[in-house]
Subunit: 398 residues, 2 copies
Amino acid sequence: MDYRFADTMKHFQSSAVREILKLTQGKSVISFAGGLPAEELFPAAAIREAFNRIFEQGNSALQYGLTEGFLPLREALCARMARKNMRVTPRDMLVTTGSQQAIDLLAKVYLDPGDTVLVQEPTYLAALQVFQSHGAKVISVAGDPNGMDPEQLEAKIAEHRPKMVYVSPTFSNPTGYVWSLERRQALLDSCRRNNVLILEDDPYGELQYGSDETYPSIFSLDQHPESSAVVYTSTFSKIAAPGLRTGWVIGDPTIIRSMAQAKQAADLQSSTMDQQALYYLLRDFDLDGHIALIRANYEERMRLMVSLLEGLGRSDLRWNEPKGGMFLWLELPETLHAEHLLPLAVEKGVAFVPGSSFYAERPKHNTIRLNFTHSDRETMITGMERFAAALEEISVRV
Amino acid sequence: MDYRFADTMKHFQSSAVREILKLTQGKSVISFAGGLPAEELFPAAAIREAFNRIFEQGNSALQYGLTEGFLPLREALCARMARKNMRVTPRDMLVTTGSQQAIDLLAKVYLDPGDTVLVQEPTYLAALQVFQSHGAKVISVAGDPNGMDPEQLEAKIAEHRPKMVYVSPTFSNPTGYVWSLERRQALLDSCRRNNVLILEDDPYGELQYGSDETYPSIFSLDQHPESSAVVYTSTFSKIAAPGLRTGWVIGDPTIIRSMAQAKQAADLQSSTMDQQALYYLLRDFDLDGHIALIRANYEERMRLMVSLLEGLGRSDLRWNEPKGGMFLWLELPETLHAEHLLPLAVEKGVAFVPGSSFYAERPKHNTIRLNFTHSDRETMITGMERFAAALEEISVRV
C-alpha cells in the first residue's frame, strides 16, 4: 500500500515535549519539562468516594449519556462560573475531554483552511498544533508581561483580518504572565469592534500565588451574554486530576450547539464515569479548600525554584516570579540556544522545554520553560544543580 | 457579533436519532430508536472492583498518561486480537474515546476536502457525519445481505478514485447483515489492487446469535501486517459498558502514529481512569463468560421481536432475522414513508429511526431500523403493539 495522507498532516509539528520525553526514556532524568501537576496532592480519597457514589446510582450510570455532558455537572459548573461573574446556563456549556478538546472543536466549527488566528507570543504549543492541523494561518502578536500590545493587535487585525484570537491571559503557558485589566478590556474592545472571536483558555486561573488581586476573565468583562465575543474554556486537570480528562467550554449557545454537533462526530461524548465522579466531587468535597492547599504548596515550589535560580549567581539570566500557574520563563544570554543546552542537560540528568517550541513565528532560541509543580523540594534542588552544571558547560564552550 | 462559522459546518447533518429523542422528551415513549445496550446486563460489580484496583495503585493512576493509551491495556487487547488472527503489537494500536473517535481521527489524517469515501448502502449514520464534516464526498456502493456487490465496487473505484472504503461487515448498523467470506476477500483484493484504504468498523462482532460460524475480520485476511490495507476498530461499549467510552484501533504503524499525533491535538489522551478500569476488567473478570450471557439474552430479545413482527400477520412487511448485532432492518411497502409513520408512532408511544437517515445517497424512505437490545420482554411487547397500531393507521390513510 502506498498511503495517501491528508495535506493537513503536513502542517502537524511533532510536539517538542514528546521528543524530550523520548530523549529521557530509560534514563533517570529529573523533568522540569512537562506540565504535570503534583501527584501527591491529588485528592485521591475523595475521588474514590465520588466513584463509589456513581456505583450506588445503579447501572444506568454506565450507559451512554448526552453529547453536551452530564446535566448535574453542567449545573454545578454554572454555579461555580457565576461566582466569577460568568453567568451561564447549561445550554451555554459543553463538557469536553479536557480543555484541549474545546480548542479543537472550536477550531473545527469556526476555521476554514487559510483562515487566520492571532495568538500571543509565545503561546501554548498544543493550541498551535490544533490551528495548524485545521490548515489555519497563525500570526503572533507581541506583548509584554502585562499582555498583548493593543496597538500591534489593532495593526495585525487590520492587516490579517483574523477570524479568531486565542489567548490565555491568566498565568499563561509558557510564561506564567497575567494580563492587566486594561489589556483584557483593550483586547475585548478591539475584537468586538472588528467581529473577531476570542478563545479564552483558562486552565491555570485557580492556581494563584501571593496577592489577593482578582483577574476577571475576558468572558466576564463582555456584557453580551447572547452574542458573546468570547468563548471561555477551563478544566479539572489542574485542580482535581488530569486522569479524569474533563474540561468545559462556555459561550454563545449557537457556538456551543455547533461544537456539540462536532463533538458528536468526534467521540459522541466524554467519559460518563469521569463526569459523574466530578459532579459528586463538587457536591461532597471541599474543592476550594483543596485548591487553597495546592496553591500554598505550589507557591512554595515556585519560590524555591526562584531562590535556586538566584543562587546560581548569574547576572546573564532573566526570569519572572509568576503570580500563578505552573511555569517559570527563563531567558538565557542571546548567544545561547536552549536547543543546544537541552541534550547537555539531559546527559546530566535534567530536562526542560526550549522556549522556541511556543512561538508561531520568529522563535526566541534563548528561552526556556521550567515547570515547578511536579518536583518535590529535594528533586528540584538536585535538578537545578544539574541544570546549572549544563549551563556552565555550554557557557564555557560558547 | 456576527459569527463566521467554517464552511465544513454546512456539511453537518443533524442526527436523526437526536431529533427523535427531542420528539420523545417528556413523554412516556418506548424506544426502538437508539443503539443502547441493556443496562441491566452491565457487569457493574466487576467494573466497580476494577475501579477499586485503580485506587490501590496510588495517585499516579490519576496523572496524565500516554496519548497512545495505557500500555497494559494495549497489551491485553493485543492478546485478545491475536485470538482472532489479528497479530499486532502495542505500537500498531491506539486507544480512543470509543470507536467513533477512531473513525474521526482516521478521516482527519487521511482525507482532504473533496476526497471520496465509498460506503455500504445503508451505513452507520455517525460515520457519514464524520466524512461530511471533513468535506469528503461520500459515495454509496449497493449490495445485498451478503455484503457489497464486488462488480459495483470495482466500477465505483474506477469512476471515483476513492481514498478510502468504510465498511462494517459483521452485524452492521443499521441492517444487522453479515458479509460472506467471499465478499470480504473481494473487497480486500479490489482495495489492495487499487491502493484504497479500508476502514473496518467492528463494534458488534462479539454479539453473535445462533450459529457457531466464524466471520474472520477483513484485517485478519490481509497478510501484510507492515503495509496493511485495513485499519480496524472496535470498542468496549457493547461488551462492557458505553459509559467507559473506550475503543481501540489497529493498523499499519505509520497510520497509527499519524492518528496519535492527531489525537494529541484533539484531546491529548482518553480517560486514564476508564482505560485502567478496563485493563483490570480484562485481567480479573471473565469477560468472555459475560459476553456469552449477553449473547444469549440479546438473541432471546431478537427472536421475540421477530415473532412479534410475524404476529402482525402483514404480508407487506419484510425483515431479516439478524445473526448478530443490535438491529433489525424492516421494509414497509414502497408507498409508505417511515418519516411519516414516525410522528404517528411517537403519538402512540413508540419510537424508531427511519432508515433514510443511513443513506449517503438515494434514501429508501420505506425502511426502518429497530433496536431490540434495550427493551425487556414486556416493554417490547407493548412497544410492538403501539407500532402495529401506528402502522394500521397510516396504512388506512394511504
